[in-house]
Symmetry: C2
Subunit: 143 residues, 2 copies
């Protein structure tokens, strides 16, 4: 608990933003530069959901692929704090906030993970708290 | 407030699941049928993050594209309640839980939306609460 996982960084290209937005979040401010400049975002920016998906992928690479992850249960309090613009590089840390064994299913553990995603200027762009199911190493299994 | 928005339905194919998982959630239980059968999911199932993205898209089509949406602020209490398996059709409703004017920026409103996403058996697969920014129709603007 309290362990901090450093994430690798990902640079978000115009093509990535447009491809994702076309499928899942087709607003002009995620698809068209002129419309984006006229919007509250001030320029072409990723869908917030894409920022979340990229953060998840960074966590899989840095941590979840190394534990016996059985999938996510849900998350709390996702906040988009600043837009992720074309060419921005995002990264950050994930802190293990809680780790407990499931009371009903003691072979499973629930790990609570706090994301702090920042851009290349160290400005926070997204925070969220994810609850993820992991298989527990029992005495039998680790023998 | 209390208004219920009916979403269209989306059928989730094996190709959609694998394409999304490869990019954002590359676990064997989202990529490989044999590994998926041996997992807690019991078969090939979508990334929970994909279920969220598809739900967001259904909300854009049914509602957000018709109001002056300026983007999401964040999410609360997302829960994945059952896996979305290959061939499942998801849909559901979004209820307007709250609608208020921003105190600091009265030209903007914040709409709070409760998602209830279900599969073709009417079984809940995901719930979440989205806070979304919308432009307010002022007396001047609507004249």
């Amino acid at each position: 608990m309290g362990e901090v996982i450093a994430l690798d960084r990902t640079t978000v290209s115009k093509e990535m933003i447009i491809t994702f937005a076309r499928e899942f979040d087709p607003f002009p401010f995620h698809l068209d530069e002129a419309a984006a400049k006229a919007s509250l975002l001030g320029g072409l920016a990723s869908s917030g959901w894409q920022t979340g998906a990229l953060s998840l992928r960074m966590l899989v690479d840095a941590f979840l692929s190394k534990v016996a992850s059985a999938g996510g249960l849900g998350f709390k309090d996702l906040k988009w704090k600043a837009p992720v613009m074309v060419g921005d590089t995002i990264g950050g840390t994930v802190t293990i906030a809680e780790l407990r064994r499931s009371s009903g299913h003691p072979q499973w553990g629930i790990v609570t993970l706090d994301f702090d995603i920042r851009n290349q200027k160290d400005r926070p762009v997204m925070t969220m708290r994810l609850a993820n199911l992991v298989e527990c190493r029992t005495v039998e299994a680790s023998a």
